[in-house]
Symmetry: C2
Subunit: 254 residues, 2 copies
């Protein structure tokens, strides 16, 4: 079996409100979880302010380095919504009224008997070559420009659109990680060496260890093993559990 | 009154568990809020995996561009805790057992009758020139290397250490933003033009607008005005409220 290429991705969050601490971002975690399940490795996240130079620089750097870039925020109707214009500039594309987006938004507001005013029409402005991302929730579509997928910042709308994007088949499906997780009733520093040896001895295995204390103050470590080959992970699990039992180390599977 | 230079900062979160979606980061928001109150502008956030090249590249890029860099994660006792070694490499500093950190940790475990083993001693390894950041919670200190401040990933411990760092006087205090916030009972696209004109007419004023719907489906927008001069913001507020009243626009102050 040859090693498969795993698609990778970056997430770019755009918005002063996150950097100033006014708003706690909810999109990074939601996107990261969905991409993990989809078999795509998220290798970087950036958060930048609503500033043209910062957005353009980040879009270019991430689009060049990763297979997919997902942006959230900055595509509403107000003056600080400059993401679409910046994406066009980043790729040297013409920015203007996208006829398909214009038709969708015009019909959306007509159905609701709401005026399709200048501010609302701004949401149909984007790189003219963009491919739309459907918004079944609030009308205004997202869009794709090259390998960059532009999504809104409102978490509920973003999630609906992102789910639709994943099932659309436009995002490649990778080989998902297989996971095995145990909680060990020891301090992290007491099992550190054992974990290191195990990871070094098994190529393709990644071990994460996450310490905490229970209410009584006892040390616990949640240890997560991940591997992309189920049969390899199964063997590693059997051997590891046997080792814990031999050494009388108390553990619980999760 | 001359314009003051506002110190700026970046946050660098290090950890596979955030990028894979296993863990939702809690540190970005906590640090961003505290720095906002301290008068420091956070201008960028990055999240990178536990990979040497990624960490070194991010540390160098951010340390060069911003006044302060705060990192979280990757300073525990296990094999995937490589932050300290990467910081040393990023700055070309010698990495090894830091005698002051070693003394603190040795005493910490002795008081608890716990062995000060190899894994625990790893937490005293860092750039030899580093200045420590006190950890009154769990012993292992953070450290400062040039303009980079290295903190742990466990949120409760990170917060205690960060609070201590802020009151220590080692982080400059900037001029804090003055805020004024109203909720307007209109769709965001109906007030977009008014907000844009207001921002353009007032230098130093930044306006953020955050739309939502109430339970009955009515559109609301939370509008946040910020300015660093209290007297300027007070005038803007008076004028803006008068405009809303003249135009019979329903609003609530927050």
């Amino acid at each position: 079996m040859t090693e498969q290429t795993i698609p990778n991705a970056a997430i770019l969050v755009i918005g002063n409100e996150i950097l100033s601490g006014r708003t706690e971002d909810k999109n990074i975690h939601a996107i990261a979880r969905k991409l993990f399940t989809h078999g795509i490795d998220v290798l970087e996240v950036r958060i930048v302010p609503d500033m043209q130079n910062a957005i353009i620089a980040a879009v270019r750097a991430l689009a060049e380095q990763y297979d997919y870039v997902f942006t959230t925020g900055g595509i509403g109707p107000t003056h600080d919504d400059i993401t679409a214009a910046c994406i066009a500039k980043a790729f040297g594309q013409e920015y203007g009224l996208h006829s398909e987006a214009d038709a969708i938004l015009g019909a959306y507001y007509q159905r609701r008997n709401l005026p399709y005013n200048t501010a609302r029409q701004q949401m149909a402005h984007m790189p003219l070559t963009a491919t739309l991302i459907e918004n079944t929730d609030s009308g205004a579509p997202g869009f794709q420009c090259q390998n960059v997928y532009v999504l809104p910042g409102v978490p509920s709308i973003m999630r609906t659109m992102f789910d639709g994007l994943l099932v659309s088949g436009r995002i490649a499906q990778g080989t998902t990680w297989q996971l095995f997780s145990v909680t060990i009733h020891k301090a992290e520093s007491e099992i550190a060496e054992m974990l290191q040896q195990l990871e070094e001895a098994n190529s393709g295995l990644e071990i994460g260890s996450y310490p905490r204390q229970d209410e009584a103050g006892n040390y616990l470590v949640n240890v997560v093993f991940r591997h992309r080959r189920p049969e390899r992970l199964a063997t590693i699990k059997t051997d590891f559990v046997a080792t814990l039992q031999e050494q009388n180390i108390f553990y619980t599977e999760e």
